[in-house]
């Protein structure tokens, strides 16, 4: 019971080439910036796009293998999809929306509607059976879409940004419900999102996609602790540097500058992360223990939560997080000339 896929899709100016394996009963979140190929991957798995090369195998059944001339159209794949914006059929009420898949697969209308009603109960929509999609709230519509995708017992469930269309308050509730429903679905679960919170709450594993390629896989905690892409680092709010480790913990950064870490690694290409709150800011060159210090100029100042985030142009550029009081005491403004310092022990290094 699992998905084993090598997906290669060639579009006009874009190629997706990704390998993934998902065990049944696990939820994998595919994250990545816009245009990374997340939706293309989902469409290929659902059969809405044919592979140029590769192979998709689900529970031992080949769904797509252009080399062998195999391609199952979407209607023949045991795959349920929850689309972005839900895509409920506007002319059908909630029950008929959920019954649609069963009817398409040959279940009689009355029986399909009975089973659909049970599904609506299961997602907590008892009493809303005859509501048309436009009469449902965003969260309710999302639950109907989930019930619709699950009603015909798929072996794989694909969710495309299922929470993107919701406002911030309902999103938390729906996310919690979704987590509960995902746990009860025994098949392969793949979730596309650009929200790291979704990935952290809903997923067992995360796949980071960028420019059509998988650049990292791992648990949400691993991905956050050891990001391998600017995009993830920015999302999780850490500083990511790539460079080459030399002897004695010196790291020559790819984009100029050198930093020193306490951990010694085998010489070679490495990533280094620094949490913004570990970056100290001074008006003049500091004396003392930090082994990393360099001058810079404040590029932007923006409040984030109860802190202030300062983007510093320097070699290398870095983001620091200070308290509003500190910013005021130092009289920091955009274009202020400053020094930054980072203790070697605050730099975490891992092989690239």
């Amino acid at each position: 019971m699992s998905l084993c896929a090598h997906v290669r899709v060639e579009l006009d100016a874009f190629t997706l080439d990704a390998e993934l394996a998902i065990e049944a009963g696990r939820t994998v979140a595919v994250v990545g910036p816009n245009g990374a190929g997340k939706s293309t991957l989902l469409r290929a798995l659902a059969g809405l796009l044919a592979l140029a090369a590769g192979r998709i195998e689900l529970d031992g059944v080949v769904l797509d293998d252009p080399g062998a001339g195999v391609y199952l159209p979407p209607e023949q794949r045991p795959v349920g999809v929850v689309f972005q914006d839900n895509l409920l059929f506007p002319h059908l009420d909630a029950v008929d929306n959920v019954a649609f898949g069963l009817q398409s697969r040959g279940v009689r209308r009355s029986e399909a509607r009975r089973r659909a009603a049970t599904w609506l109960q299961r997602v907590g929509l008892e009493g809303r059976e005859h509501a048309k999609p436009r009469q449902l709230s965003g969260g309710q519509a999302q639950r109907v879409a989930l019930a619709r995708a699950l009603a015909s017992d798929p072996r794989m469930l694909l969710l495309d940004e299922p929470l993107a269309a919701l406002d911030a308050t309902t999103r938390n509730d729906v996310r919690r419900d979704l987590r509960r429903h995902l746990r009860t679905f025994p098949g392969v679960r793949l979730l596309i999102t650009h929200d790291p919170v979704d990935a952290a709450v809903l997923a067992d594993d995360v796949i980071v996609l960028d420019e059509g390629r998988v650049i990292q896989t791992g648990s949400p905690a691993e991905i956050t602790a050891r990001p391998r892409s600017e995009w993830v680092a920015e999302l999780t709010g850490t500083n990511l540097f790539s460079g080459t480790a030399g002897p004695l913990g010196n790291i020559a950064l790819d984009n100029g500058g050198t930093i020193v870490a306490a951990d010694h690694l085998e010489p070679g290409p490495v990533f280094a992360v620094v949490a913004p709150h570990a970056v100290s800011v001074f008006r003049t060159e500091p004396e003392g223990s930090p082994r990393n210090k360099w001058p810079g100029r404040v590029a932007t100042i923006e409040p984030v939560g109860g802190r202030v985030r300062i983007r510093v142009d320097g070699i290398p550029p870095i983001v620091a997080e200070l308290t509003p009081a500190a910013v005021q005491a130092m009289d920091l403004a955009e274009a202020s000339e400053i020094w930054v310092a980072v203790k070697a022990t605050e730099i975490s290094v891992y092989p690239a």
């Binding site: 059969g47 809405l48 979407p74 914006d85 649609f100 898949g101």
Partner: protein
Amino acid sequence: MARARRRNAATDVPERLAIIPIAIATVAVLLFAVPLAGLLWRAPWSSAWDVLSTDAARDALRLSLITSLSATAIAIVLGVPLAWVQARLDYPGKRVVRALTTLPMVLPPVVGGVALLLALGRRGIVGSQLDKVGINLPFTTAGAVVAEAFVAMPFLVITLEAAFRSSDRRLEEAARTLGARRFTVFRRVTLPLVAPSLLAGIVLCWARALGEFGATITFAGNLQGTTQTLPLFVYIKLEGSNPDSAIVLSLVLLGISLVVLLALRDRWLTAR
């Protein structure tokens, strides 16, 4: 509505200066209103029923219903797939096909009738072949149906093509992932989504077929009970012995047009 009016009042300060366009607009409205008033004014209301019970009038009414409904049925059977192809597929020569299938809307109907006669007449390119297998269209009821379909189908196709084009195709993809085959998708998703436009197209097409005159008289002739539809009947009677029956049947056609207009009021009578 209230908000719109208020905004109007606030912005249209020089409204009182608009005398000239208002005067011209009034003339335009009169151009539409006066003929209708004339028709209603001259209507022989007392003898209306007698006129409607004559054989010739009954024949024309019956024939008009049969031919216009048949033409509409043909337009649906051929026009729905045509509209779908035009909206959804890309192929070389698509623009030519669009021009070709829209042409009857702007072509003088008489020219359409002449063209039909030359192609499908006994000596026509296609007609001579049809003749060999015993099919004869000119001057038959079937010919009247063909003439009406030729003129009226574009109205259905154009309306429906726009609807197919603007309907959300992602819903069709969703249906396919739910196990629906292409035709099921079309029947249960695509068609219901364009149903209002389909209905409007059908009504429009039928109204046009019902009023068809030029192509019908040229291609199918004017034989009572066979090809003499209502408009032909009206024309002949007005020229000849019994203008009263022409007026009464004109009123019948006018009444049908009003019903059509009411049926489509949400589309056309509501200013956006």
